[in-house]
């Protein structure tokens, strides 16, 4: 154990030395960050305990820049990954080495890089430390743009990272073309018309688990090369913008959902359509998004490690509001990439200060909602679409005076946990009052009162939070979520946080409820635990 810890620290130290030496000589600049999340788990007979008594995830990132030249690295160290994190995160590794050149018209990167084409439906690689996901491509990328950026061309190729190392099971080669038409033809205008297109070829080498799975499913075969593409069009003028995207995916593995919970496998292409409409004028703005998905799951590995959130190559976020209050995010919707279609809309309006409703400091209103249906071809009955998720969210923020501010939030949600396959939905209504009172210019108290009403799942919940802040350095908090409608379990927490410039340290103790942690259509299962957690972040 001690040897493992020393090896991890030595790796982090070596990683810091080279850029430090360059920076110290005044040749360019060095930036970086250090983050450490550690939890000591305590036994809890009520909610259970993780297998290992502790866990620790640690990250060091360093970037060196001189003129157009850049270089950097990321070192990650998991002496024992936190409970619920993917099994492939073990030990230490240099996970983000790169060299880059950023010229006047040409940009090039060799090594590790993140890439997104369009909205990410076709391809997206990114890092999310809450999920334990980093699927950066390791390879090369070159892009060229004209002086006025009317034309941009990008070519790339690489292996997606899985865990601490690149996976040799999948390789990607792609290209992207963007035409900003008016500058391209030398016209200056308030209008903007952008046409874009992308191609991605995915080459797959079957790993052992995939081969075994395919054999067990009747010798089913999946092509080792698959071409996908997307076309995009965007128009904007002033506060108005309209964007459309179509994605076509070549033949890929597809799971057919049959009656009586049976499944069958076949080859099937995929496609997706996305339309976004935005309008803003004065203190009003609105946005509407339509999206349809058909067999859009895209993985690094076909089967064996598919439970890991890192086993993904595109971005399919759920088409609904990302909830931030404890009870509102209790049962998040997970995208049904096999086949869904839906809308999401949001309206924002500020009643300006000095108006009858705005008062002296203004009042902010947000109304949003979404409606998502599972499509017939992705359901056992094949003949009818079925509700997968819908919600309405309203929040009203009012600053009453220099000392007192309130937020009233209501969320009405209906979710089908089986995406319509089981034809059952769970409804829940969440009410939140969030109030802030300032005792002085630096001391303030924030409280949250929350209630969740439901006749399904775990029925009713209530929650409360008290947070006392002493700006600019300290805050302490205490919270509790109580499932009084069913399990009678309390999820209590107390914590303290300290900030000094770019250093932030927080210490928390209490219970965490089991549940899904989701982002970008990717989720990981967080087991319940009681423990003491220490989190430190430092950027420089």
């Amino acid at each position: 154990m001690l040897r493992q810890v020393s090896r991890g620290l030595l790796l982090l130290l070596l990683g810091a030395l080279v850029p430090a030496a360059l920076g110290a000589q005044g040749r360019g600049s060095v930036t970086g960050s250090l983050e450490s999340n550690s939890i000591y788990y305590l036994d809890d007979a009520v909610i259970g305990s993780p297998e290992h008594p502790w866990g620790s995830n640690n990250y060091l990132k360093l970037d060196y820049a001189a003129g157009g030249f850049g270089a950097g690295l990321q070192a990650e160290w998991y002496p024992q990954a936190l409970a619920g994190y993917p099994a492939e995160l073990q030990g230490a590794g240099l996970t983000g080495l790169y060299l880059s050149w950023n010229g006047r018209l040409v940009e090039a990167t060799a090594g590790s890089f993140f890439e997104q084409m369009g909205s990410g439906l076709l391809l997206r690689t990114w890092e999310d430390r809450e999920l334990g996901l980093n699927n950066a491509l390791v390879g090369g990328r070159v892009s060229f743009h004209t002086e006025n950026r009317g034309l941009t061309v990008k070519l790339l190729g690489g292996l997606p990272k899985y865990g601490l190392w690149p996976s040799t099971a999948t390789a990607l080669v792609g290209g992207d073309l963007s035409l900003d038409l008016l500058p391209l033809f030398g016209r200056e205008s308030d209008h903007s018309i952008v046409v874009e297109g992308s191609l991605v070829d995915k080459f797959t080498r079957r790993v052992e688990d995939d081969i075994a799975f395919l054999a067990s499913s009747g010798g089913f075969s999946v092509p080792s090369s698959r071409l996908s593409w997307s076309g995009r069009l965007q128009y904007s003028y002033g506060g108005f913008s309209l964007k459309g995207e179509y994605v076509g995916k070549g033949d890929d593995f597809y799971t057919e959902h049959l009656r009586h919970s049976r499944e069958a496998y076949r080859l099937k292409g995929g496609n997706a359509q996305l339309v976004e409409l935005n309008y803003a004028a004065g203190s009003f703005s609105g946005t509407v998004t339509f999206r349809r998905l058909e067999n859009m799951t895209d993985r690094i590995f076909l089967t064996a490690s598919s439970v890991s959130p890192a086993n993904t190559l595109n971005y399919l976020p759920s088409l609904c509001m990302q909830q931030t209050y404890m009870l509102a995010g209790l049962n998040p919707y997970v995208t049904y990439a096999d086949g869904e279609a839906g809308f999401q809309g949001d309206l924002y309006y500020t009643f300006r200060r000095g108006t009858a409703l705005g008062g002296k400091y203004g009042m902010k209103l947000h109304v949003g909602g979404s409606w998502i249906e599972a499509l017939p071809f992705a359901l056992p009955d094949r003949d009818v679409h079925y509700l997968a998720y819908r919600d309405i969210n309203i929040d009203l923020e009012r600053t009453w005076n220099r000392k007192f501010k309130t937020i009233l939030f209501v969320s009405i949600q209906e979710n089908s946990p089986t995406h319509g396959n089981g034809k059952r939905t769970d409804a829940q209504n969440v009410f939140v009052l969030d109030a802030l009172y300032r005792f002085s210019r630096t001391v303030s108290l924030r409280t949250e009162l929350q209630y969740l009403y439901s006749q399904e799942l775990t029925r009713d919940w209530m929650a409360g939070l008290v947070e006392l802040s002493f700006a600019p350095h300290w805050s302490i908090s205490a919270s509790d979520m109580y499932n009084h409608g069913s399990s009678k379990v309390h999820y209590y927490n107390v914590g303290a946080s300290y900030s000094w410039n770019a250093l932030n340290v927080s210490l928390n103790a209490g219970r965490t409820r089991e549940g899904m942690v989701c982002s970008g259509g990717v989720c990981r299962w967080q087991p319940a635990f009681k423990g003491v957690s220490l989190r430190a972040q430092w950027s420089f």
């Binding site: 810890v5 620290l9 982090l12 130290l13 810091a16 430090a20 110290a24 600049s29 060095v30 930036t31 990132k61 360093l62 970037d63 820049a65 997104q116 909205s119 990410g120 903007s192 965007q234 904007s236 506060g239 913008s241 935005n278 803003a280 004065g282 203190s283 703005s285 609105g286 946005t287 998004t289 971005y315 990302q322 931030t324 949001d346 309206l347 924002y348 309006y349 500020t350 300006r352 203004g362 902010k364 947000h366 923020e397 600053t399 300032r438 002085s440 210019r441 630096t442 303030s444 802040s469 700006a471 805050s475 946080s497 900030s499 770019a502 970008g520 972040q537 430092w538 950027s539 420089f540």
Partner: protein, 163 residues
């Protein structure tokens, strides 16, 4: 092992002592036009970059409060605040709508669509504010927001202008 920990922290502390130039990164404004971070340097006044996300409540509180403080600004020079959204493609349009609909007076909204600025500044949690001097050198940064932090931020901007 203690030596290793101390060595690592010393090296990193040494790195933090160097004044950092704002990295050259392309962002977008609400209409999708490219705005480079270096174009924010006017050689006359300091400026503030506030990194935020639509799902970050402290971020919204900080920007709301700065907007409320804006009419009372008494620094004797124009206060320049750029709210840079880290929202990804899922919520980027929502960020554009939110920035407009929340009516942030005196704050210009920019969008870090491909997380380039986030990576270049090594932002690991939000909100984080950066005060850059008139030549684009980092003068002050702070992670997190507590009510009252805006006073310290505005003090730092004044000190940066007067240095």
């Amino acid at each position: 092992m203690k030596k290793l920990v101390v060595s690592l922290l010393l090296v990193l502390a040494g790195l933090s002592a160097f004044a950092q130039q704002i990295p050259a990164v392309s962002l977008q404004d609400g209409a999708g036009k490219v705005v480079t971070t270096t174009s924010l340097i006017d050689h006359k006044t300091p400026f503030v970059i506030s990194i935020w996300m639509t799902t970050c409540k402290p971020c919204l509180k900080e920007l709301d409060t700065l907007s409320e403080e804006f009419p009372d600004w008494d620094g004797g020079f124009p206060l320049r605040i750029y709210a840079v959204s880290m929202d990804d493609s899922r919520s980027q349009k929502r960020a554009v709508a939110m920035a407009q609909g929340r009516d942030w007076e005196g704050i210009s909204a920019l969008f870090d669509v491909n997380a380039d600025l986030r990576r270049a500044l090594n932002v690991s949690s939000v909100p984080q504010v950066f005060v850059y001097d008139k030549e684009g050198k980092l003068f002050y940064t702070h992670i997190g927001y507590r009510p009252g932090d805006e006073q310290e931020l505005l003090n730092q901007v004044r000190q940066c202008y007067g240095k």
